[in-house]
């Protein structure tokens, strides 16, 4: 019996409920905590989707580090419940309507299964050797089986994606400089 599907739906329900609570709670701290909850649910789904390393990083970096930063700032600013947190009705209603339409458009993607994707995929001979691009064509599960949980991601990260990897270091440096410049009390 396949256990993955029911577990997936449990996590999916958890994440959606948490997300709804995140955007409806008036207290920013509650919102932040519900967002953390959503991230945990997503981490669970990642495990089901053969992305164990990503799941770990999601918990450690995203839910752990980034959201703590959020909580920290919320506490620092000490902004409590807003007396009227919701946008005024006309704008708010318009927002709900627009989001609903957008959601309906994006939901059409839910009709994709493995078969449909494969059907739509061109079976023409690849124009160049894929190995030149990155060692893909190897699906997540196979890669994990061959190189282990960490190695599966690390391999491409440090070979094919070396340039973007280096760019992220510059990106983080920029963010640090920017945050320091902006947040310092006195320059």
């Amino acid at each position: 019996m396949d256990l993955v599907t029911p577990v997936f739906w449990v996590f999916a329900g958890w994440s959606v409920v948490s997300a709804v609570l995140c955007i409806t709670r008036r207290n920013p701290i509650s919102s932040a905590l519900w967002l953390v909850s959503t991230m945990f649910a997503l981490a669970g789904i990642y495990v089901l989707l053969d992305a164990q390393f990503i799941a770990a990083v999601q918990v450690i970096v995203y839910a752990g580090a980034i959201m703590v930063l959020f909580l920290f700032v919320i506490m620092l600013l000490n902004v409590g419940d807003a007396p009227r947190e919701w946008r005024r009705w006309p704008v708010g209603l318009l927002g709900v309507g627009l989001a609903a339409v957008l959601g309906a458009q994006l939901m059409m993607l839910g009709g994709y299964g493995r078969q449909r994707l494969a059907d739509e995929f061109s079976t023409q001979p690849a124009p160049v050797n894929p190995a030149l691009v990155f060692p893909e064509g190897m699906a997540s599960a196979a890669a994990v089986a061959e190189r282990g949980v960490v190695g599966a991601v690390a391999e491409p990260l440090f070979t094919a994606y070396l340039i973007p990897f280096e760019i992220t270091s510059v990106l983080l440096l920029t963010a640090v400089i920017g945050a320091v410049v902006l947040a310092k009390k006195k320059l």
């Binding site: 946008r87 627009l98 957008l102 309906a104 059409m108």
Partner: protein, 659 residues
């Protein structure tokens, strides 16, 4: 010499740069400014004469002087900065540099006490440079540089006395009207590029007939778009309203830009692209009838103006109408002929009026009086104080009215004869001819009225002013004399057969205009009796108009603006005697003037064009802009909502089928 044609542009350009520098650093160095400003023009004129002599000796083939590659668009189409010296551009070159030199010289006296002297000459020189680019350009885009440039200079010079807000508004209006026209020219250029694949005048003349079907929709559209540009630049219906307003600038500017050169650029362009027009008979009819209507209605408006420069402004619009009537009938040479003679006598009229205004202004200044120096109701009897000006303006008046043997007679007669001949096969041209004839009558009338109000009768500006009225200095009357001579003898350029000439200008221009012959029936000018009848009729009309104008104006005292209209019993009785006059007034002049004033001027020009058209569009646009600005209320929520609405619509367009 021909290869040095770029010198004619370089001199004024350098003059503009140097004078501009002087305007910034040492605006008080007026002697130097005059030297540079006038010298640049004289230099250009000298080169122009050299070129003219060379072209005179040549066989009429065009010389193209490549300066450098400008826009190598594709292998097929490369737009170069090339100047074209042929017989047409030589004529324009001579007129612009010649009349330009005289007007520059006149300005030395006229603008002497103006604080913006150096700036004025810088603009004026720049204008000449752009004007020369316009006429010398060998392709539409090169001419377009000049086309836009003269518009800019004109706008700067109209708003030259910027202390008055109305002036800068007039400048803005001129720029706007011009830009509406420029839209037409640009569109025409792109369409030509699209259809024909070249924008060289040479290439167009050769390739356009092969590509564009005779009387087809594309060529008609292109010609009409080009003509839209011409109506903007040359102040024709419906874009004529800016020109009278443009008189806010200094008078020599009016003479140079708004009478002699820039406003004739439209006529020049039609002749230059004559092949295109000749391929589109409908467009030709539109040009002719628009010209005739403009000639007629501008003349009716001029009948009742009291501002001396406004009369001349409407008169210019009217005369430009004649030129378009000429080119619309395919009488290219006649159009250019009238352009040249008009440059002479209208420049003379404007400079003469400038001299009058100058005198009035100085007299008011000396007598510490205030008043409108341009209102003819405050003038009168000036012939005693200003004999030179009086005689010279008289010559110009006879010339514009069409009294032989002065220059204007020959050119106007040529145009009307051409329209009459075309009218034989096409009623539209006959209507145009009739309108032209009536306009000729009114031209004589309002010019006589202008002369009478200004120079005859007694002085109405007040006794304190009268002793201070003086003739202008020699530096101003000198150019007037030259222009006066040209106005008298200018007709020899293109004397018809019966007067002993041989249509010299028409033959001279043949290398340029012959390309249109296959698509345009050759105009068989009338001979013998018909010709003499036409000529006789024209002379009669001119003389009658002049006499009527003099008579109706001088018959009773001109009322100053302050004086209350006298309507006592005796006056009424006396007026009853002038039954014919009244009839004329009531039946003919009255309704026409009423129509032109109420409907055309106040209704169409001021209300429709100004308020609804130019002003209205501007206001609607501003209103929409204001609305958009209000939407920008600073709320991120609104911005984000707008954003997501955009996303939804965009996704709907891309995915399709989805909600």
């Amino acid at each position: 010499m021909t290869s040095l044609v770029w010198l004619t542009i370089l001199f004024p350009l350098l003059g503009a740069v140097i004078n501009g520098a002087i305007a910034i650093r040492r605006p008080e160095a007026k002697g130097l400014v005059s030297l540079v400003g006038v010298g640049a023009l004289l230099g250009s004129f000298a080169v122009a004469i050299g070129i003219f002599l060379e072209v005179l000796a040549g066989d009429g083939t065009a010389t193209r002087v490549l300066l450098w590659q400008w826009m190598p668009v594709t292998e097929r189409l490369s737009i170069d900065l090339t100047l074209q010296v042929d017989r047409l551009s030589t004529v324009m070159l001579l007129v612009i540099t010649g009349v330009g030199s005289l007007i520059h010289l006149f300005s030395v006296g006229y603008m002497k006490s103006d604080p913006g002297y150096a700036r004025y000459f810088a603009y004026l020189n720049l204008f000449v440079a752009f004007m020369l680019v316009l006429v010398l350009g060998a392709s539409l885009p090169v001419s377009f540089i000049g086309w836009e440039g003269v518009g800019l200079c004109s706008y700067l010079l109209i708003g030259f006395w910027y202390e008055v807000d109305a002036n800068s508004d007039a400048g803005k209006k001129a720029f706007l009207a011009n830009r509406i026209g420029d839209f037409g020219v640009l569109m025409a250029m792109f369409l030509l590029w699209w259809h024909v694949g070249t924008l060289d005048y040479d290439g167009l003349a050769r390739q356009a007939p092969e590509v564009l079907a005779y009387a087809g929709a594309p060529v008609t559209l292109i010609a009409l778009l080009l003509f839209l540009g011409c109506t903007g630049k040359s102040a024709q219906i419906p874009l004529f309203t800016w020109l009278p307003d443009a008189m806010a600038g200094p008078t020599p500017v009016s003479a140079l830009i708004h009478a002699a050169t820039m406003v004739t650029a439209g006529v020049f362009l039609v002749v230059r692209t004559g092949v295109i027009f000749s391929l589109a008979p409908v467009a030709m009819e539109v040009v002719a009838i628009t010209g005739a209507l403009t000639a007629f209605f501008a003349a009716t408006i001029a009948l009742r103006q009291n501002d001396i420069k406004k009369v001349l402004a409407y008169s210019t619009v009217s005369q430009l109408g004649y030129m378009f009537l000429a080119v619309g009938t395919g009488a290219w040479a006649a159009g250019i002929f009238h352009l040249v003679t008009h440059a002479f006598f209208k420049a003379l009229l404007f400079l003469g009026s400038g001299s009058v205004i100058h005198a009035m202004h100085h007299a008011q200044h000396a007598a510490h009086a205030h008043g409108d120096a341009q209102d003819m109701r405050l003038m009168g009897g000036l012939r005693r104080a200003m004999p030179w000006t009086f005689v010279l303006m008289g010559i110009a008046t006879l010339a514009i009215a069409g009294v032989p043997p002065l220059a204007g007679f020959w050119s106007k007669d040529e145009i009307l004869a051409a329209a009459f001949v075309r009218g034989g096969g096409n009623t539209i041209y006959l209507v145009a001819w009739g309108l032209g004839l009536l306009a000729a009558l009114m031209t004589a009338f309002y010019m006589a009225r202008l002369m009478a109000m200004t120079f005859f009768g007694r002085f109405r500006g007040g006794d304190t002013l009268e002793p201070h009225l003086h003739e202008a200095p020699a530096v101003m009357t000198g150019p007037l004399v030259v222009l006066g001579l040209l106005s008298i003898v200018g007709g020899v350029l293109n004397l018809p057969g019966f007067a002993g000439g041989s249509h010299y200008l028409a033959h001279w221009l043949e290398p340029v205009t012959d390309a249109t012959l296959p698509y345009l029936d050759r105009l068989e000018m009338p001979h013998g009796m018909t010709e003499l009848l036409l000529v006789g009729g024209a002379i009669t009309i001119a003389l009658v108009g002049l006499a009527l104008g003099m008579w109706t104006t001088l018959r009773r005292p001109v009322l100053t603006p302050a004086a209350t209209p006298a309507a006592t019993g005796l006056a009424r009785v006396l007026e009853g005697k002038y039954f014919i006059d009244e009839l004329y007034q009531k039946v003919f002049v009255g309704p026409t003037v009423w129509f032109s004033r109420r409907v055309l001027w106040q209704g169409i020009d001021q209300f429709l064009v100004d308020r609804m058209g130019v002003g209205g569009t501007a206001r609607v646009a501003k209103g929409l802009g204001w609305l958009g600005s209000r939407l920008q209320n600073g709320h991120v929520a609104l911005y984000l909502t707008l954003f997501v609405a955009g996303v939804v619509l965009l996704m709907r367009a891309v995915i399709g089928g989805a909600p």
